[in-house]
Symmetry: C2
Subunit: 493 residues, 2 copies
Amino acid sequence: MAKSEEDRRLSKKAYDAQVPDLRAALVQMQVELKAAPFSVLLIVLGVDAAGKGEIVNVLNAWLDPRGVETVAFREPTEEEKERPPMWRYWLTLPSHGRIAIYAGGWHGEALRTDPRGAAALERFDEELRQFARFEDQLAADGTLIVKVWLHLDRDAQRRRLLELEGDPRTAWRVKPEDWAAHRDYDRLARLAERMRRLTHRPGAPWTVIDAADPRQRNLAVAAALLSRFRRHRRTRARIAAPRPPRRTVSLRPTGLRRLLALPLDQTLAQRGYESKRDKWLGRLHAAVRSAGQSRRSIVWVFEGWDAAGKGGAIRRLTDAVDARECRVIPIAKPTDEEKAHHYLWRFWRHVPRAGMVTIYDRSWYGRVLVERLEGFARDAEWRRAYAEINEFERELTDHGVIVLKFWLHLSKDEQLRRFRDREGTEYKRHKINAEDWRNRRKWHAYEIAVGDMLALTAAPAAPWHLIPANNKRHARLAIIKESCRQIEAALEP
Amino acid sequence: MAKSEEDRRLSKKAYDAQVPDLRAALVQMQVELKAAPFSVLLIVLGVDAAGKGEIVNVLNAWLDPRGVETVAFREPTEEEKERPPMWRYWLTLPSHGRIAIYAGGWHGEALRTDPRGAAALERFDEELRQFARFEDQLAADGTLIVKVWLHLDRDAQRRRLLELEGDPRTAWRVKPEDWAAHRDYDRLARLAERMRRLTHRPGAPWTVIDAADPRQRNLAVAAALLSRFRRHRRTRARIAAPRPPRRTVSLRPTGLRRLLALPLDQTLAQRGYESKRDKWLGRLHAAVRSAGQSRRSIVWVFEGWDAAGKGGAIRRLTDAVDARECRVIPIAKPTDEEKAHHYLWRFWRHVPRAGMVTIYDRSWYGRVLVERLEGFARDAEWRRAYAEINEFERELTDHGVIVLKFWLHLSKDEQLRRFRDREGTEYKRHKINAEDWRNRRKWHAYEIAVGDMLALTAAPAAPWHLIPANNKRHARLAIIKESCRQIEAALEP
């Protein structure tokens, strides 16, 4: 090592003098974070031998371990490959009040594919753009994202590798891959630069830190975390609490028009219904089975007015699906753990494996229905949710998941009839409560929100199917038939 | 169908008259269950064509879906095969206040292996005995386990298959496997009988229900669930709340003697420590790596006095392990979700995949230490925990997991010195609180509990390593060395 280089290094003494204050500040940050309505992602990446692992260990030593977790990814497992690529990243997100330190993070996974050639680079870019959208979503939700790139120039990297190798205590840390990466320094540096450029976002910027001096590097990473945290906490403190809208105005009236034009006077006699239903159930059974055989998953989404018959329709479907391949997820109020995450997190959790089926009894659309109308989500939150939902469903359909979305539509009179029936039948009484009556009083506002949902989330690969549901038999048969047709069409070569 | 058979069947009219009351009772049961400190497992099995799937669907229709989940197993996935066999069953257990309906359950998985020949039958029996121990543990923890076997005699099965096949609406339900099972009726019946005999336990008995008449079958299953629930609720209501012991008496004093005999006056100079440590870390790194290559997982368990240096020791270890292969799980107070499960559930969740490492910073031993002494567990609960823990660790080691258990031992004076140091250093202050001082006042009671733990959970495949920890350097080096030796020994052919 050149003398001048040695001079620029921070002495152990000067370092040791700074550490205690820094540690106290980090722990204090954790105390404040604990009560804050957001989580912190610290993503650490860098060139080989820049000390990514050391930084992770140092921070783990400095932070209170009860509020921090370390996440590192490996080659995706079979289970992970069977879901959309972002699935495994979503599942690692910490809950509010906690810090996750990502050694490498998703960006590291993309770099590991080591793309060469135009086609590979195009896939690389596409992956990075997906990461950027992912981080945009998290940042919009309040997550603090701190991304650190540990930099060493070519000479410094060489010196560091020789230094590690020359010391018998650390020689085992240097692997042949590290030298290979060193020989390929320029290309890898360009790749990393490209990665940073495509994922540098307002809510998730990259901080490049010189890692030539390990002590200064440690201090710089901790300082970056602390200063971003302080600024973030101030910004988040200014955000107003959500409140219900005074008046609900349609964003895109085409959906509402479509909804109001739906005829609801269908009838279907009991006679003949069962045999038709069972014929179609047989066909549905075959379709689901053959989807499973081609490793295509199916996601059913059921939305509809209270008492529209979602539960009954779902039970008919499950008659035709092998129970071992199907999960029904009833969506009620989120649990505390779910509330402490991005609202899409709890739906990601249940995305089916290859060839399996998940039926969501209510879904992520709650964000633009009940959360919009009751003021559980802020204005900006439910407004951007349309795009977030489209992104989520696109990730599913891009991965080959067959997404079937049903809105069960009812007339206001028919709902009243069913509410009264529920109140009058002992074993149905638990199905109705004051909230249902409250929702009913907001019928028109809900119509507007449903209309916006239909208009703004109708992706070609995941269209909405409107089901007239005044007649239960008709509705059930229509759902079975439509599901059949959609699955069969999706499986066509 | 013979006329007399038809006569014995329940008419649709009589059935329809009974269903509303039954549904009301089931929903009422769910209301009561919601506030109860236990969960319900309903396991439904039976001969082919007896209507296992129908029962699951009927119950799902009758019950309030928000409190019930359906679980069905398939061939174990890669991820599941990489853990001890019971892992996937543990993870499906519902939390308190909820019902899980198991279509087939673990017993069904054992039957699916279709054992033939003496060796296969012996494995089958061993598996069943493991299920029995599993259910014993759950029952002891208060879980209500209702196991239903749907019976059809050979003729009834044949009639049912023909009936299904003869009706175009249900013909698709009958598969060639069903007829194959029918031809093999006698052997399969003997196998099922053997299964029921080996897993018929006081807290988890089998109820055999005649399934010849589907309507009577549905009523009988619901009635069995209701009556077991009512009895169970009364029994559970009588169980007294836990309270701390007035005096702690040793169960097996050999452990305490071993603990008190441990010399604590080791010293280790700073000079030479780092180079020794790094040499051993290099060796540990190689050992962990080669364990990973042979797909052997490692579980480290760290227990010890407050301020004994568990955190620091763990960070030294993680220096030698690839962060992508290692998770550190700090065990603090259980979350609400964890509290609503068997205490071992939260540790099962983190059992590592093949070739991976989990480090538990405190562990399941809390059950026989803090929970015993603070009265968080009832007397009977912590007393039976020694056997439960041995069973848990045996399932790990039987599966090839290397289990390394360390107790970090400290003198009472050294602890005081460290507490004072923590209080005097700003960034360490969060590490000490009133609880630590309270625990310290119970030093002697803790010594007794630790001694009992050492004596009663020292399995040959998962022994305790006592580490004198008055000197931090000595302790860290001893842990690294001992871990090395144990892993190397476990990997020897």
